[in-house]
Amino acid sequence: MKRTNILLLLFLLVVVTGIASAQNENNLKISGELLTDERLLLNEKNDWAWNENRLTLQLDKRITDNSKFYSEVWLRNIGLPKITQSSDLYNKGIIDPYNIEIREAYIQLYGVLTKNLDVSIGRQRIVWGTADKLNPTDNLNPLDLEDILDFGRRRGSDAINLNYYIKNDFSLQGFFIPFFRPANMPVGIFSNALNSTMELPQGMILKEFSDTLLMPGYNLGESSTAGLKFKGFAKGVDFSASYVWGYDGLPFVTKNTFIPVDTLGGTNINSQLSFARTHIIGADLATSIAGIGFWAEAAAFIPENDVIMTNDLSAFYPMSPIPVTQDSLILDKTKPYLKFVIGCDYNFANGSYLNLQYMHGFIHERGNDNLNDYFFLRYEMNFAGGKLKVAPIGGGFIVTDWNNIKDNYALVYMPEIVYKATINSEISLSTVIFNGNGDNLFANLKDYNMFMFKLKYSF
């Protein structure tokens, strides 16, 4: 009897230990990082340009052998207090601005129906493209332009994402995003960085400006985004071809209504903005030749309809029996525009790293006539066994008119030093110097040269 009890106890112990061990493996894993990001303008007063304290929480749980849950949440103090009246002192959100953001939260199922099919459902980031951070084919998730210097950042989308693997070297991806969400625009000192300037006719003085944004209707036909991608590997080359039926996440001005308010030329303007349904055909490749990594990526953007901007001047001609309008063609549906990136990188034996990219058409540029040329370069050196990383050369050269470079260029210089203070924390010191002439994104930032401090702690 005693012997039977001992055996039973041992059996229970083995079972319980087994369950405990299985539970350990399936436990919710919490990881993440703390980021402190402070930026100071290099102007006379050294104004603070950016303040962000971000706690990223990553929750990861294996549900079964063939499924998992993943989520990434940002808890942030961001921005500087904008207190203008005493009542603001009663609002903690104004004194100490904060926000919470669910970047991703999805379930991933492996081998659904067939062992070759993986499905992810929920808010997720679907990353496309072989280029480095600047990816013309990466158009599924909305642009997150909050920090204009964090190129290529996008928000997660609520989506269903299917990946079917054909043998090991080929796959077919299909996805569906039911709700359109536009890009969010830069904040803080960068808030006007992407706004184009409006030239008014001679004698007209802008008094008030307002706008109306027309969102696509929230129904299956209007708000959906869908697409396909075929990806493969052959003869040492990774390649893909893709198609997206989606929206350009940045709105176009489709109508300006001019209303005179006085006899001195004072005018109020109301702009109507809307989003253009766009077909995007993309392709990319990556390979390594003679030790050098090469990549190329291109996307052709084809608007479903012509994008026309109408200036309505009827209020100036009250006696006219018909509306007085002027139309300008912004995008011609018969003339796709092509954005592309080619780049290469090389790792030197001494641990240093060189990365070069040429890009035609930045993230906010649309239409063949508005695409500019960007050359980016970064050279990094490692010291003290990788504890210290120095990037003495980093930045870009931008040309907006090759016929008159002197008046239409920008230079961005971004040297950086990264010190790994402990195994899980690193401190980064960098500066950004903008210079240039003409109307382009980076030349317009030349009053915002800054010093940046970042601390990142991973846990």
Binding site: Y110, N168, S288, G291, N347, G385
Partner: protein, 244 residues
């Protein structure tokens, strides 16, 4: 007299040639046996604990799960420290390598120039971490025989960061005990000490201690929970698995 000299010379030449041939054959068979010891399992899974020791004796520890199939497929996934957790490297035949960085959410093809760089801050280069057999990559010459080891000199057949490697091969079990790596200037640059234990029918390098003599920095790679021949397939060494 002439005939006798010629005959004697011929005999010497034949004998010398025979000895030389025997030497080459012996060393290549020793090297082949060493490869067999190191790479004979069909596949392997294990936990790799990496201890980095700087010149002041300060230690830094990393952990990774390692999977390997044959001599040319390997997956390396970091589990610690937190700053590197989730970073994974997939090595495939013909120098095809992918890096997965969770922060970017996508795989990235790595240029082959990375092979000469140190792997994840260790004293091993990506090339050292490769699983290509020594007999494929090097020619061998027997330098001497010591009490317990054959001392071989390996010269690269193709491009390499090393001008030569001197390896001490255990006479009884044919695993390497010590490797000395010489740079292009023929100066000893690195040294690896091996500790092998037998797990089932295979010899396992339970610890490799690699010292970079120029930097005075040491890396210990310690393997535990090693499982052999668990039936890993080519499907386990794909970009799909890398991103999981």
């Amino acid at each position: 007299m002439k005939f006798t000299i010629s005959k004697a010379l011929m005999t010497v030449l034949i004998l010398t040639g025979g000895i030389l041939f025997a030497n080459v054959q012996d060393t290549s068979s020793v090297l082949k046996k060493m490869d067999d010891v190191m790479y004979s399992p069909k596949d392997m899974t294990g936990i790799n604990r990496i201890v980095l020791i700087d010149k002041n004796g300060k230690e830094e520890i990393r952990e990774a799960i390692m999977q390997q199939k044959g001599t040319d497929k390997r997956m390396f996934r970091f589990t610690a420290p937190a700053s590197q957790s989730g970073i994974a490297v997939l090595s495939l035949p013909n120098d095809v390598m992918y890096l997965y960085l969770p922060a970017f959410g996508k795989e990235r093809r790595i240029s082959t120039s990375v092979k000469s760089q140190n792997f994840a801050g260790t004293d091993f280069s990506y090339d050292d971490m490769g699983a290509e057999t020594f007999s494929n990559e090097y020619t061998s010459k027997l330098l001497r025989t010591e009490a317990n080891v054959f001392v071989l000199e390996l010269r690269p057949k193709g491009r390499s960061d090393y001008s030569k490697i001197i390896v001490n091969v255990n006479k009884n079990n044919y695993y390497p005990e010590l490797m000395e790596f010489y740079d292009k200037g023929n100066k000893k640059s690195k040294e690896a000490k091996y500790t092998f234990i037998k797990i089932g029918k295979y010899w396992n390098a339970s610890e490799i201690e690699m010292t970079d003599l120029k930097k005075n920095h040491t890396t210990k790679m310690q393997m535990s929970n090693v499982k052999y021949d668990t039936g890993l397939t080519d499907d386990d060494f794909t970009v799909r698995k890398l991103k999981r």
